[in-house]
């Protein structure tokens, strides 16, 4: 199953989009194989032990450790062991497995930035607890030297802690200020610094109010938000990078001295390249030798293999199916049609840059407002009382009260909860704002081949043949590795057919297989070669002796959950559109089967992107679901996009969300989770605003003691976090 889903590991079309694969190709042979597999379906202790025990039984595997939080297993094994060999083992144990790129894995395993943030968070938490204890004594009425002592001890704890823990905010604020604009970190840094300075000043003068506790609690809550945010991003980023399939960009070049194995980057125009059956074209070119069939599904969405003979042009990314081919390169590297597709993506992507996340929208309103308010309070008090110290105290109180603690937690707490929930359902959010964009979707565009369908043909007319014919067909099909033959073999075996005694079976590349049965020649293959007629659907023709050729017809089997997903999306009131590069007949058949009223067939990649753009211009928010190279521009151009794990690197890079499993069923669920998540974010903003509306007037008139500041801050942060956690419970 996996073998058909995954593109073969050979010279790659997507290497332009997969630096990981290139890096991998350049690395030297390791002494020990460190492998990683993604296991989207594991969920319990029994799954973990089952996978680990199954893997450890394989000779050569030294250790296997499942990480349930990340749904993956890391394997240390002898150098010869490959992931391809281990995937069947895990599948035999009953779990779906996909290969992860261990090269990028090593880089993300030591998440330095995350551990650094966690350490700062821990130090801030430790300091906050101690300072709060001291503050409680002050709030409950400590006076005179005792109060001063407590303030000094607090200062001694807080100053070094702020210097260490609040660094990320200071750094970000400084970068923003130098670039000449305001972000959330500017009011945060200003509030922390002003609180510290006024508190120190008050402490020196034995004043009543010191805001050390507020300053440190602020840092703690904001770091919590920052850490959650970072973790969600880091998990998504690493998983998306590691998913890159191992398509090593190498090719066999024919020279006078023989064949040599070279990186695809070294190929030049005019080189002769040998492409074996199952291999992918590394360049654009012209066939000079050999007969075969080409699979263009990933490039154009066509399911019907194309006949290939000398003189025909081929594009990088097409898969050679039956016979070895020699290709003369006419365009390499950046000039290939594949690379021009990447340029389309770059053009399409600029459209999405216009999206402003909710948090940024809030910050834009918020940051200047806070500064103006604090400034006015300061000036007002200075003019009215003439006391600089009082005015500065009031300004500090306003800044602390308005400091965006709850705002800082509002978005990350929700995205953490939501993406955790989606990850459990098998969806990986790659982009921070993807959830918000997903919630706005009103139109869903599906690609056909490889997205709604599994990309594997299934036999549809087994009943139309006599048992004799089926037995002959099975014997012939077993002699070929062509996808149709493989599917035919599987279907007939499942029907309990035994192969007939056919002798002298040979595969004729590009045409089919032939043999001799009871002194009569038998052939299974293309229509023209067997004497068959025209057929609108994918078909293989069988001819026994000199009788008429009969057609085995195939249809692309539906991907798991495709029917349910489309129905559920329709029920949710989303408009569903099918756009495919495949023939009209094939697309119409699928559209009727899934009851999709709007469909477009024979669409070129540019057409797909143009149609998405037209929809967007008409005010629609489009969700594009696609897997092929012909979809990449459309994926990048859509408001938000999803691609399955079996998609090519380029498609996964261009999309915001990756489906980890095989089923499409989680998509409607993801839409409703996204809608709830966005609702929670808005609620959180409302909660944070209400706290400010109540507390700010108190601060401005000078009634805000450090106790009120601490209460307002903690209460709002906790309310916001709890509101976000409600997401986990909803079904």
């Amino acid at each position: 199953m996996t073998a058909t889903l995954r593109p073969p590991a050979s010279a790659c079309p997507a290497c332009v989009a997969a630096p990981a694969a290139e890096a991998l190709a350049e690395r030297a042979q390791p002494t020990e194989a460190k492998l990683a597999l993604s296991l989207p379906t594991i969920h319990c202790a029994a799954c973990m032990t089952a996978v680990e025990t199954a893997l450890e039984k394989v000779p050569g595997v030294r250790s296997a450790r499942v990480n349930l939080s990340q749904k993956r297993v890391r394997i240390e094994a002898a150098p010869g062991i490959t992931a391809e060999a281990l995937i069947p083992v895990v599948e035999a144990a009953g779990f779906e497995a996909h290969e992860l790129d261990a090269g990028t894995l090593a880089a993300t395993a030591t998440d330095k930035a995350g551990r650094d943030l966690l350490m700062r968070l821990a130090v801030a938490g430790f300091a906050a607890m101690n300072v709060m204890l001291l503050s409680i004594a002050v709030w409950s009425g400590a006076e005179g030297p005792t109060r001063d002592l407590f303030h000094w001890v607090s200062a001694a704890i807080v100053l070094p802690t702020i210097a260490f823990s609040a660094q990320p905010f200071f750094r970000n604020a400084w970068t923003a200020l130098r670039a000449g604009h305001l972000n959330m970190d500017v009011p945060i840094s200003l509030a922390i610094l002003l609180a510290i300075v006024t508190s120190l000043w008050e402490t020196i003068l034995s004043g009543e109010h010191a805001y050390f506790d507020a300053a440190i609690a602020l840092t703690f809550f904001l770091l919590t938000g920052r850490y959650l945010d970072h973790r969600t991003r880091a998990i998504a980023r690493s998983a998306a990078e590691e998913l890159s399939a191992l398509e090593v960009p190498r090719a066999w070049r024919l020279t006078d001295a023989g064949e040599e194995h070279v990186p695809a980057a070294e190929l030049r125009v005019g080189d002769l390249i040998r492409v074996r059956p199952g291999g992918r074209m590394p360049v654009d070119g012209e066939i000079t030798e050999g007969l075969s069939e080409l699979d263009r599904a990933l490039l154009t969405g066509e399911t019907l293999p194309v006949y290939a003979a000398p003189g025909q042009t081929v594009s990088a990314g097409e898969v050679n199916l039956t016979g070895p081919l020699v290709v003369r390169a006419t365009a390499v590297g950046r000039n290939t049609s594949l690379h021009r597709m990447a340029d389309l993506v770059a053009v399409a992507e600029s459209g999405r840059e216009n999206y402003t996340p909710l948090a940024d929208k809030a910050a834009k309103l918020y940051a200047p407002g806070v500064h103006i308010l604090a400034g006015l309070a300061f000036l007002g008090w200075l003019a009215w009382s003439g006391d600089f110290r009082v005015a500065l105290n009031i300004a500090a109180a306003v800044l602390i009260i308005t400091c965006p603690c709850a705002l800082g937690l509002a978005v990350p707490a929700v995205t953490t909860a939501a993406s955790g929930k989606l990850f459990k359902q098998g969806l990986l959010i790659k982009d921070g704002t993807a959830l918000e964009r997903l919630a706005e979707v009103d139109t869903v565009v599906f690609d056909k081949t490889g997205t709604l369908t599994a990309g594997t043909p299934t036999l549809t007319n087994c009943d139309a043949f006599t048992r004799h014919d089926l037995e002959i067909a099975l014997a012939l099909a077993e002699g070929s590795a062509h996808p149709l033959s493989v599917s035919l073999t599987a279907a007939l075996r499942a029907a309990g057919i035994a192969p007939a005694e056919v002798t002298g079976i040979t595969e004729v590349p590009g045409h089919g297989t032939e043999g001799v049965w009871r002194d009569a020649p038998v052939r299974l293959g293309r229509a023209a070669w067997t004497g068959g007629g025209q057929s609108a659907t994918t078909s293989a023709w069988l001819r026994v002796g000199h009788g008429p050729a009969q057609a085995f017809t195939f249809e692309d089997s539906l991907r798991d959950g495709a029917e349910d997903a489309v129905a559920a999306l329709r029920d949710m009131g989303r408009q569903v559109i099918l756009i495919s590069g495949d023939s009209v007949a094939a697309v119409e058949a699928l559209a009727t089967r899934l009851q999709i009223p709007q469909w477009v067939a024979e669409a070129l990649p540019q057409d797909k992107a143009a149609r998405i753009k037209a929809l967007s211009d008409a005010g629609r928010h489009v969700l594009m679901v696609g897997d092929g190279l012909n979809d990449t521009a459309a994926l990048a151009g859509a408001h938000v996009s999803i691609s399955p794990a079996s998609a090519l690197d380029a498609a996964r890079v261009a999309s915001d969300i990756v489906l980890l499993g095989r089923s499409l069923a989680p998509i409607p669920g993801a839409l409703s989770v996204a809608t709830t998540a966005t609702k929670r974010i808005r609620q959180n903003f409302a909660i944070a605003t209400w706290y400010n509306v109540i507390a700010v007037p108190l601060a401005v008139v000078g009634l805000c003691s450090p106790l009120i500041a601490a209460l307002a801050m903690s209460a709002s942060s906790i309310t916001v976090s709890l509101n976000a956690l409600r997401l986990k419970g909803t079904r």
């Binding site: 973990m48 450790r65 966690l118």
Partner: protein
Amino acid sequence: MNILAYLIPISLILGGLGLGFFVFTVKSRQYEDPEGDAQRILSGKYDDHPKQD
């Protein structure tokens, strides 16, 4: 109130110990798979000794 001269340093030291332990757990990577570790205790396979990396 002289007792404060003892109590404050003591509370700071105790808190510092807690922080130290936390730093140790971060360094020894005990937060890499919280869900898996929670599930592993349910399996009898690791009763004799924990699963080594």
